[in-house]
Symmetry: C2
Subunit: 345 residues, 2 copies
DNA sequence: CCCTTTTATTTAAACGTTTAGATTTCTTAT
DNA sequence: ATAAGAAATCTAAACGTTTAAATAAAAGGG
């Protein structure tokens, strides 16, 4: 049970505490022989520097806070993993705060009072722990700006649904543009889109990409093919039924997430429309299950690790006093599987 | 940009630093009027105690370390959420260390040297941060015992594949026993089991539960119905093909995880065996996708939040000097869906 | 061999708290 | 009014490091 301090090491190695500190940090020359003696003693006594004392004196903690709205949301762990990966390289540490918002206030995004309370607590806690900056992983349309005083400590947002600055996002618009191109390359022109809730930025960006492809490739723009979902499977199911009942149904559907794509699958199956023969389908997110469905669905993989990594990099840059810097948005990647084929004619 | 210390507060409120500390911690009587004055100043200056200084002086950090072999493994975030939930209540903080083992050494569980290196680093880091104890979330057959010196700090294992002490696990044996009962209640007697890799404790425990039910309900024990999988979908697929090709195929399959159950589904579909009419199926894990498959599969939900919570509770008890205590293992819960029906006769 | 320069080591203050023990101030009983 | 006791406040040391500044030891140069 250790309370071995630098003093104990100094005493046993017959040097001053300063010398021990110098060998530990390499901040000054130490004669080879004494260095070895000190290291030897450190090893013997299994000494570990007291981080609290170090931070106090150095006035640097090498620690950043990560606030996650909810760690159990599917994409959050990957992002944390990315932050972690980068933090390791920068010799930084992470203090994780899980707001547990999904558990605590569920889907009532407008319960701003409760949100504020939890958010303030979290920030206050982190500041007290002397974090040098904060990364905020949002999963819903809300954020910290104006909510609480971070005492000058920088915040970087990632995976946030709202527009913050600085904020690290992947390129949603390009992603849905690419998905469209893939469908078009396969010969589709009557393509429907099922969106997520429209108050979220990703929905809007993905819609932009869709629209860009429609105009660029001069597809007929039919408002009947634009459906507003809510990210849940049920909406994919319902809207697909509507789409397939159209006098002139689409030959392909772009679903803004894999969960709604499950609903598409179900509706198609019930209506005996086979995928991909009679209807092509592309999803978003590359959720694990997208590979387990029948057919395995083609989907857009999100660079989650990457945005976590970049968020940490950006924060680090800000901490060095540099500008956050605008690195190009990481790209999504199409995972080709079995849910797309040329349209039947 | 804050470097407001207790001294600044003391000066502005015209009291000594001791008094400020007393109002902050309530450790001594302070006259109502001075207390208010001090609190006022604290509020005004937005003062946050410096945690490093506090820990240094108090010699308590109220912080525990959590070491996760890999946070991106599906069940880990739920467990962390449970730890978090309990820690909040106990006013404890969590320092998360992600070994990133799946990324770094993949499936080579026997690469003990690399493992040791990462593990030692992690522990060393945490000890330096003065954590009071450690929770280790394992996902593979290996652990920390004998690997590195934790300097007397207690470790609690959870979700670990090996036998450690103290270790918080849910009741795997009971779970598979219950699953069997459910099948038996539905009229099945010729029940096959597809196991995970047999060097993992959960596999063995689940097998025990299976076997207990077989003997207790006097089912014919047929070795041909016992198949060794490896947790992956491919093995579920292959073994199901074998099972369904038997002269006397089973009427139900118990798969030790949902991923292998996907393979079962696929094999059955290819062989035109319909589920649940001709073959019943129960999985394990209640993975999100189990609800998205067709048919939605009946599966065992794991009390992941609960074991995280209990791990934190147990660690806290140890830190109070009490015994770890053996609370009853949390139970798994059967999620009834559409993959089980009475056998066709 | 002494003086100078370089290199190695030590001394002591500081970081921002907490907390015994000392001191002051306030109450209350006489 | 005063002494005694209680309540409030203050003083100062300590926690385990780091780091300027001071000092000591070693190395070079003539």
């Amino acid at each position: 049970m250790s309370n071995i301090s630098i003093k104990d090491i100094a005493a046993k190695a017959q040097v001053s505490t300063a010398t021990v500190s110098y060998v530990l940090n390499g901040t000054r020359n130490v004669k080879q022989v004494t260095r070895e003696r000190v290291l030897q003693v450190i090893e013997e006594m299994n000494y570990k520097p007291n981080n609290a004392a170090q931070s106090l004196k150095r006035r640097r903690t090498n620690t950043i806070g990560v606030i996650a709205e909810d760690v159990t949301v599917f994409n959050v762990p990957e992002i944390i993993d990315g932050i972690n990966d980068c933090a390791d390289r920068l010799d930084m540490h992470i203090l994780l705060t899980n707001l547990r918002l999904d558990k605590r206030i569920g889907r009532s995004f407008d319960d701003m009072d409760t949100y504020r309370q939890y958010a303030e607590n979290a920030v206050s806690e982190l500041l007290s722990k002397q974090v040098e900056g904060i990364i905020y992983i949002g999963v819903h349309p809300r954020d910290l700006t104006g909510l609480c005083d971070t005492d000058g400590k920088p915040i970087v947002y990632t995976y946030s649904y709202t527009e913050n600055d600085p904020s690290i996002q992947y390129d949603d618009e390009q992603a849905s543009y690419e998905a469209m191109r893939y469908l078009i390359d396969h010969g589709h022109s009557r393509i429907a889109i099922i969106s997520g809730v429209m108050d979220s930025i990703p929905s809007r960006l993905r819609f932009n990409g869709f629209y860009k492809a429609v105009t660029e490739f001069q597809l007929p723009f039919d408002p009947l093919l634009i459906k507003m979902g809510d990210w849940e499977a049920e909406s994919g199911y319902r809207l697909t039924k509507e789409l397939l009942s159209l006098p002139e149904p689409p030959t392909a559907i772009l679903s803004m997430n894999d969960v709604m794509a499950v609903g598409v699958l179900r509706a198609a199956s019930e209506m005996s429309v086979s995928i991909p023969e009679q209807l092509s389908l592309i999803g978003f997110d590359n959720r694990e299950f997208s590979e387990y469905l029948m057919p395995r669905i083609t989907t857009m993989d999100l660079p989650l690790h990457e945005i976590g990594y970049q968020a940490m990099e950006a924060l680090s840059r800000i901490l060095q006093g540099e500008e956050a810097g605008i690195s190009p948005k990481p790209m999504c990647r199409l995972i080709e599987r079995d849910s797309v084929a040329p349209p039947k004619r």
